[in-house]
Amino acid sequence: MRERIVHWHTIDEKQAFLSDFPEDLHPSIQQALKERGITQLYSHQRLAYDTARTGQSFTAITPTASGKSLCYHLPVLQSIVEDSSSRALYLFPTKALAQDQKSDLNLLIEQMNQDILSYTYDGDTSPAIRTKVRKAGHIVLTNPDMLHSGILPHHTKWVSLFENLKYIVVDELHTYKGVFGSHVAHVLRRLKRICQYYGSNPVFICTSATIANPQELAESLTNETHKLIDKNGAPSGKKNFIFYNPPIVHPTFGVRRSAILEVRDLAKRLYKEGIQTIVFAKSRVRVEMLVTYLKELSKKKINDESIRGYRGGYLPSERRQIEKGLRDGTIQTVVSTNALELGVDIGQLQACIMTGYPGNIASAWQQAGRAGRRQDEALIIYVAQSTALDQYIVNHPAFLLGQSPEEARIHPDNLVILMDHLKCASFELPFKTTEQYGEFEIQELLAYLEEEGILVRTSDKWHWMSDRFPAHEISLRSASQENVIIIDQTIPAATKVIGEMDRYSAMTLLHEEAIYLHQGIQFQVEKLDWEEKKAFVREVDVDYFTDANLAVELKVMSEDKERSYKNGAVFYGDVSILAMATIFKKIRFDTHDNIGSGPIQLPPEELHTSSSWLSFNRPPGWTDAMLTDAMTGAATSIASFIPLFVHCDRRDIHVVPQVKSIHAELPTFFVYDSYPGGIGISERVFDVWPELLGHVEQHVEACPCDQGCPACIGPQEAIVGMKDEVLKLLAYLQLESTGDPYVI
C-alpha cells in the first residue's frame, strides 16, 4: 500500500489565540462560560462579540470544532439579558442541525440561570406549544423551509418576534449556494421586508466553512454589507493528510483500480485496528455499495450495528439513531454521503477516508474536519478516482492544501426563483406601487402577475387575490416540488415507504428493473408509476448494480453576450434542453463487467436554462468522425474542470459537444446549468473560457497515459485512443482575445 501513497502531508498543531471576556459581558454569561471551563475567548469569538455590539452584520469563518456557536450565542444572549423583549432568529440548513444546537444552547442558558426561552420551530413542533414559541420564545431556531412556508406567511402571529428582532443568525452559510442558496436569498429578503414592516432592523451573523468569497456570498444572500472575521483563534491537533492513488492495472489505457475497492480495503484495515472511521462516498449508490462490502466484516456477529450507512433518503429516526451510535462509539465505521459534512453532532472521529474529491475544497476540508479528536493525531486519506479532476488533485496536493478554495455563488436574479418569491412576498404584504423588493425593481413584474390574475391593483397597492397559498407550491430544495416515493412491497400485506428521491435522479436511479440500494439491501424496482411519482421495489439478492444513460437534445433560444476569439467565439444565453433516460446497463460488483442492458421507457423532461457555449471554425482537414471523438474527449475534461472555477456540484452543470450545432452549424461545446432559468454557473463560465481551456490542455498533456484514460479525456474504446487529436484540438482552441465582450 505504501507505494500508492503519492503524498503525505502533515499539518502541525496550532496554538490558540485568546482574548479576555468583554468587560460588559453579563456576569451570568461569564459564570456559565466558567462552568464550562472557559475563562478566555478565542480571538475570533471576541471580535465577533465586539462587532455585533456595534450593530454591524458580520460573517465569521469557522472550521469544524472552533467554537463557532459562541460567535453568535454571546451577543444574542447579552442582548436578551439586557432587555428581555429582545428576540433572535437562528437559521440552520436542516431541521436536524437546529435540534442539535438547541440542546447545546439550552444547556448554556441553564448554566446562566436566567429566564431565557429558546425553542426549535419546525414541522415537529407540537401544536400545543406553538403559540408559546411565537409569543414568548426569545430565541427561535428554525430552517429556511419553515421560515418560508410556516412563519413568513403567518407573520401576524409573530408580532412580538418581528417587532423586537435584534439578530438573525445564519449558520453554515457555505451551504447556501446554487439553487437552494438563491431561494434562501429571497426568503431572507422577504424576512427583512417583514422586519421593516414591524419596525425592526436586525443584525445578521453568518458563520461559514472556508470558501473563497464568504463575504460576497453573505452580502448577496442577505443583501446587507458584512464585515469579515477570518482570523481563527482556535487551536487544532496534528493532522496527517495522505494522498492515495490506486495502482494502474492497465498501463496502455491508464486504467486504475477502482477507488471504491481501494477504499474498501483501507476501511477494512482501519476497522480491524479498532479505529473509528468515517468514509465519505459521492453518491447514494456508492455509499450502499461500500456498506455492502464492509458488512462482510461483521456478518458473523449477530445483530451487529458497528458498520452503518448514512445518507439522504433514510428516515429521520434512522438517522438520529446512527448519529447517537457514532457519539457513543457503538458504531465504528460509518459510510456517508456529504450529508454528514455539515455540523450534525457525531463527535470527532479518528480517521476519515474520502472516496474521490468531493467536488470542492470547502467540502474537502469539512470532511477532513470530521477526523481529529482534541489530543489525538488525525488521519485523513484522500483516495483518488480515475476522473480528471481527481487525478489532478492527487498530483497537485498544493491545490487542496494551499489557500485557494472556490467561490460559492448564488443567483437571486434567476427569474423563475424571483417570480416564485415575489408571489410569496405579495401574499405576505401587499406591495406599494412605488415599492421595490430587495435590490429589485419589480413594478413591471407585478403588472405581469396582475395579468395572470393573481394580483389586483388598487390606487396605491398590489393585493394578493387568489385562494392559493404560494409558499406551499414552492420548494426551496429542488427544481421540482414532486419527489418520487419509494415503496417496499417485499411483503405484500405490509408495504412501507422506505425513502424518496427527486424526479431528475429518479429518471436514472428508479427506472423499472433498476437496482436500488438502501442500507446495503438491494431492491429491484418492479414498477415506476411516473404519473403518481411512486416506485415500487422488492428486495432481491443479485451480484450487480445498474447504471443509466441520459440523452439530451439542445436548442439555443437567445444569445445575450458574445466574445470573439481567433478561431471561434463564446456566447452566453438561454437554451432549451430535452433530456430522456435511454438505456441502462447491469454492471457486476467487483469486476465491474457489463453483463446486460435494457431500455428505459420514461417521458422526456424539458428544461429551459442558461448556457455558455463555444463555437469554432472546423480545424482544416478534420473529418466529422475525428472531430466527434476529439470533442467527446475534450468535453469530458472540460466538465471535470468547471468545478475548479465555480463552487458547484458536478451535477449542477452539463457539457454537451455538437459537431454541427443546429443553431450555428459550427462545432460547439455547450455548458448549461441543470436548473430551470439557470443559477449563474454558465454565466461565470462565459468569463473563464480561456483559463478553463488552458487548464484542460495542461492537464491532458501532463497525464502519464499513452492513448487517453479516464483521468484525462475519459475511457477510450478503440485500441488507438484520441489523446493526440484532443490535444491538437485544445491547442487550436486556445483563445486569444480579439477585444472586449459586448452584449447583444
Binding site: 406567511p153 388598487t458 393585493h463
Partner: protein, 424 residues
C-alpha cells in the same frame, strides 16, 4: 413550458438598484373602486368612513320569522333558560350584546387571505336585523373592519367554527391594520361547532352546517352556492366589477347566520333538557358533557332522566356513565348496579371496560374476590372474541387483565387460608 418561455422573455424586465427603505406614510383614504356605482345599483349601500368605503346590506326580519323548525324569537326563550341555569357551561350566555357572526374569506389561511364579507345578526325590541359588510376592495379593508363594530368591548359572539377559523382570521386582518384601528376586543366566544360535536357525537357523522340544518333544524337550502366557490366569486367580482354572482354569496352567508341562531336555540333546549329529548345518544352526550365540566350533579340528573325515559337498552350508555358518577362519589353499590345494567347493550370496547370496573368494585369495595374473578374472566373471553380490537390492543388488554386475575387469585388464596385459619 409556455410559462417558462414567457419568463425568459421577461428577463429583460429585471432591473436592480440598491435596496431603499420605505418610510411610513400617513394614512391616505384610498380611491373608490371603479365599480362602486355598479355594486350600488345591485342593491348594496355605500358607507363612507375615515378609512374609505364599505358596501353594506341590511335585512330585517319579524320576530315571528320562521327558519326551518324555529321562529327567530325563540332565541329569547333560550336566553331565559341560560339565565335561570345555575352553573358554568360553554354555550351559556346572559343574552346581552350577543352577535351571531360569520365571515367569508378569499382563502384558508395566511396573511394573503382577506375577509371579504362579515355578516352579523342582532335584534331590537320587535325585529331581528342582519347586517352584511362587503369589502369594497382590499385597500378599503380598514373601512370594513371599522364599520363592523367588532372592536367594541363587551360583546358576546356566537359562531360556527369561529374559534379556529373566523376569529383568528379577523385577528390577522386587525394586526395588519392595527396602526389605524381601535384595538380589537376579546369578546366572549361561543363556538357552536364544538357544541354540536359534543351533542351529536355518535349520532351525526358529518358536522357541516348544511348537514345539521337538514338533520336537526328542519331547513333545506334551495339554490345555494357551494361554500368553497365563495372566494373565486368574490375575486371575480373585484376583477370584473360585476356583482351579480356575489349576491348569491351574501345569501349563502345569510342562511349560515340564520341557521346559527336556530342551532343555538336547539342546542340550548337540548342541553337544558327543556320540553323534549332529541335521542338517547345526544342526551347521553349532554350528560357526559356536564360531567366533564365537573357539574356532576347535573350530569347525574341527565343520566337518570334518560333512564326513566328510555328502556334499558336505549339507556345503556347512560348507565355506563352513571356508573362512573356513582363510583366517583363512592356509592359503590349503586355504581355496580348501574354498570351491570349497561352489560349486553354497549359496544364490546365499552363492555370490556364495564367488566373492568365491575371487577375493581368487587375486588376493592365489596372484597368479593370470586365475583371479581368472574368479571375478569368474562372480560378475557370477550377480548378474545371481539372484532372491535386490533391484535396489538388485544395483547395489551389481555396482559392487563391477566395481571389483575393473578392478583385476585392471590388475594383469594390468602383470604381462603386466613378464613380457614380463623375457623381453626
Amino acid at each position: 413550458m409556455s410559462f417558462e418561455k414567457n419568463l425568459l422573455q421577461m428577463k429583460k424586465l429585471i432591473k436592480k438598484k440598491p435596496a431603499k427603505s420605505e418610510s411610513l406614510a400617513p394614512f391616505v383614504i384610498p380611491e373608490k373602486p371603479k365599480y362602486t356605482k355598479a355594486w350600488e345599483e345591485s342593491g348594496l349601500k355605500v358607507i363612507e368612513n375615515d378609512f374609505g368605503i364599505v358596501f353594506e346590506k341590511k335585512i330585517v326580519y319579524d320576530r315571528n320569522y320562521c327558519h326551518g323548525n324555529f321562529k327567530l324569537k325563540e332565541v329569547f326563550d333560550a336566553f331565559a333558560l341560560w339565565n335561570s341555569f345555575q352553573g358554568v357551561h360553554p354555550v351559556s350566555t346572559d343574552g346581552k350584546q350577543v352577535v351571531f357572526f360569520d365571515t367569508e374569506t378569499t382563502g384558508l389561511k395566511g396573511t394573503g387571505t382577506y375577509i371579504f364579507l362579515i355578516g352579523q345578526l342582532i335584534w331590537n325590541k320587535d325585529h331581528f336585523e342582519m347586517t352584511q359588510h362587503i369589502l369594497a376592495d382590499p385597500s378599503h379593508e380598514a373601512a370594513m373592519l371599522y364599520e363592523s363594530g367588532l372592536w367594541k368591548p363587551g360583546q358576546t359572539v356566537i359562531t360556527y367554527n369561529g374559534k379556529s377559523f373566523d376569529w383568528p382570521q379577523l385577528q390577522t386582518r386587525w394586526t395588519l391594520n392595527r396602526e389605524h384601528l381601535p384595538k380589537l376586543s376579546d369578546p366572549i366566544h361561543i363556538d357552536l361547532l364544538h357544541g354540536s360535536r359534543r351533542v351529536w357525537r355518535n349520532d351525526l357523522d358529518q358536522f357541516k352546517l348544511t348537514k345539521i340544518e337538514e338533520e336537526k333544524l328542519g331547513f333545506k337550502r334551495v339554490g345555494d352556492i357551494p361554500g368553497h366557490l365563495a372566494p373565486i366569486i368574490y375575486m371575480d367580482a373585484v376583477k370584473s366589477g360585476n356583482p351579480s354572482t356575489l349576491l348569491k354569496v351574501l345569501h349563502h352567508n345569510e342562511w349560515d347566520i340564520l341557521s346559527l341562531l336556530t342551532l343555538f336555540i336547539h342546542t340550548t333546549k337540548l342541553i337544558l333538557q327543556e320540553q323534549y329529548l332529541d335521542s338517547s345518544t345526544s342526551s347521553t352526550n349532554i350528560g357526559k358533557w356536564f360531567s366533564d365540566l365537573k357539574d356532576f350533579e347535573k350530569g347525574q340528573s341527565v343520566f337518570e332522566q334518560i333512564i326513566t325515559q328510555y328502556g334499558t337498552a336505549e339507556a345503556a350508555m347512560a348507565f355506563y356513565y352513571l356508573g362512573y358518577e356513582y363510583k366517583r362519589i363512592k356509592q359503590f353499590d349503586l355504581a355496580y348496579e348501574s354498570f351491570e345494567k349497561s352489560l349486553g347493550h354497549v359496544l364490546d370496547v365499552w363492555e370490556i371496560k364495564v367488566y373492568e370496573e365491575l371487577a375493581k368494585i368487587a375486588e376493592h369495595a365489596k372484597k368479593d374476590f370470586g365475583l371479581a374473578r368472574l368479571h375478569v374472566e368474562k372480560a378475557l373471553e370477550l377480548i378474545q372474541k371481539t372484532a372491535d380490537l386490533k391484535p396489538l390492543q388485544k395483547d395489551r388488554r389481555t396482559h392487563e387483565f391477566k395481571k389483575r386475575l393473578e392478583r385476585i387469585i392471590r388475594k383469594q388464596t390468602i383470604s381462603r387460608a386466613s378464613a380457614g385459619f380463623d375457623r381453626k
